[in-house]
Amino acid sequence: MLKKTINFSVICFILILVFVFAAQLSFAQEKINVMAARAHKDVVVGSGGAGINLMPDLIKQEGIDVEWQTLPWEKMQEIIYREASLKQSNISVMYILDSWASPQMIKLFSPLNEYIEKNPIENFDLIAKGMRESMTINGKIYAIPVRANASLMFYNEKILKDHGFEKAPQNFEEVISIAKAVSGRQEDGKMVYGIRFEVPTELINWARAWGGDTITSDFEIKLNEKPMIKTLQLARELYEAGAIPRDFMNLTADEYLTLMLNGQLAMTIRSANYYYTLTDPEKSNVAEDIKFIPTPASKTVDFDVAPVQTNFWAMAIPKASKDKENAWKFIKYLSSDKAALTMALNGNGPTKLTVLEDEQYMKETPYAVEAKKVLNVGRPLWPAFAELPKVMDIFKEEVVMSIVGKKTPQEAMDDAAERIKPLLPKN
């Protein structure tokens, strides 16, 4: 009995070793690994919108299969940077955000010019020029733009109507007053909040409605100027009035989305691509009540549409990738006219002009016109530079301190400016 146990364990041990070996080999070869956020996968496999799955076609046409490694939004930058800095990586394609593309980070990825020459992307010049250029250094392009996030203001019509607001907010001052008025605990026990308030993102969006910003693309510090201060004061008022969650500094974009889907959030500035998720009866408790407008600016400025967050995502091949040929096939396929159109119908914000001119897309996508308007006006939240993560953290700290009342807004922003100055690139 004893001997049998020992023999059994030895056999198990050997089997395990064999398994480990096999695992290493098999998982490494078959599929390419793509590291992305969930939304990127959703538009390729068709989890929403038109619901068309591109994977079978991709497999058939290019002969490659894909394993999606989806990451939580907030941790993406760290994990991707870490993985890209390895000498060798199992990841073939990474989705990177424009704000991350600092000169230091972009160097971790392979220049794509050769691939474009040998195996060109269809209608390459029709991919938004501005986006392509921001991914190009010294004539070498490092990533192909694939998803544009133009932000709209989504609001829950029913909540507004229930509190006597028949029309959508016409300017940002109305946004604030609506937010204050509608929030609180309803009769059914549910907590409703006026507006999404993720830090530091929303602070920047709101400041933009007043013509303000944190840092310009020339690295000028603007966060301690009037628009941002005003924004912080308003935020503090809303916080005191309970119009934004007490948890606000911890809530992720995701959790605000859940609140909106639950009918607990009245307004949110969000990428237009979320239209489908918000209006899908399977995912959303308030599908019929969601409407949208371009984010209104303040009464006091001379433009109507606030230049809120407009970012884009691009696909890149890390230098460490073991499978660059297949990686390029993936990128090329998704950049084709047909794939770009399908992804857009599935709810993706297109980066290719062919999509924006496509009749079917314009017809089937209710937000296409608004999104196009915003695309021209908006810009990224931050410029790309090496110390961005630390700067974002500093800004967030000071913002939270001023909202919970530990410092006045001016104090907080002056402190932030001082701490951030040495971290900006010297020109």
């Binding site: 490694q69 000498k87 995701d254």
Partner: protein, 279 residues
């Protein structure tokens, strides 16, 4: 009067016991039950304990949306088993030496392994990262197996050593007289006698490796992704209603271990008793 006091005491003790049990098990029970609620119900206010609708939807969604989940479970299994085997072998050999022999070298080694155990695991993460990258060992099962072994091996050696100390030397000496080489005496006699401690060590190492998060988070991304790492990534899923699936994943990850621990808890408690102290 003395009689009433005597009758109250068991009642008070049972109430205290109930409180202790609730404290220890309520969160787990709540999580287990929540994995069977409809996703919308998980976010309902006021919260309910018992699901209004009992459903397996979360489990189905889990496997549909997170196709890497089975692979993650497999990785966790492989890494746990590998860690157990490696730890048991290395620490058992070493413990045998510490128990049966003595020399300056051994004394020095003992001091060394105890001192080095004081190194907080996280501080080797920065230097190890580029080293692993250069050796192409990043994101492999081997990395985690070795790391887990390294941080368990000192304590396990100690547990084995104390156990061996309780096996009288006479047994081996009798075997040697009967013609066994020292190696044979170890293999044929000590190991079978050490079975209970092997079980204890396997349990301790296995549970540690199955549940570990930090090293998996730092050193692994896709190939060797373990279940705890996958679940932590699920917590940030963009559709927002994935909490049901997170609970389903929790259920699958923890229930086997829980049941296992419940069944073999006496090995844990007894094993620690023979070791007297544990860290």
């Amino acid at each position: 009067m003395g009689l009433t006091k005597y009758n109250l005491k068991p009642l008070i003790l049972w109430i205290l016991l109930l409180l202790v049990v609730i404290w220890s098990t309520f969160p787990v029970c709540y999580a287990v039950i929540s994995s069977f609620k409809m996703p919308k119900d998980i976010y309902r206010y006021p919260p309910t304990f018992i699901p209004r609708i009992f459903t397996f939807k979360n489990f189905v969604d889990l496997f549909n949306n997170w196709t890497v989940f089975p692979q993650a479970m497999f990785n966790s299994l492989v890494i746990s088993l590998g860690s157990i085997v490696l730890t048991v072998i290395i620490s058992m050999f070493a413990a045998f030496s510490f128990s049966r022999f003595s020399s300056r070298f051994l004394k020095g080694s003992a001091f060394f392994i105890i001192a080095i155990r004081m190194f907080p695991p996280i501080i080797i993460s920065i230097p190890l990262y580029p080293i692993l990258s250069r050796l192409n060992l990043a994101d492999s099962h081997l990395v985690l197996i070795v790391l887990y072994t390294v941080f368990q091996v000192t304590v396990m050696t100690w547990i084995f050593k104390v156990f061996f100390d309780n096996i009288p030397k006479e047994i081996e000496e009798a075997a040697v007289i009967d013609g066994c080489s020292p190696f044979e005496s170890f293999y044929k006699i000590i190991i079978p006698l050490a079975r209970p401690s092997i079980v204890t060590v396997s349990l301790l190492v296995g549970i540690y490796a199955w549940n570990e998060y930090m090293f998996a988070f730092l050193f692994v991304s896709t190939n060797a992704k373990t279940t705890p790492l996958l679940i932590s990534e699920m917590m940030g899923s963009l559709t927002g209603i994935a909490w049901g699936q997170v609970f389903a994943a929790n259920f699958i990850q923890m229930v086997p271990v829980l049941i296992f621990v419940l069944l073999v808890q006496r090995f844990l408690v007894k094993g620690v008793m023979t070791g007297a102290f544990k860290g």
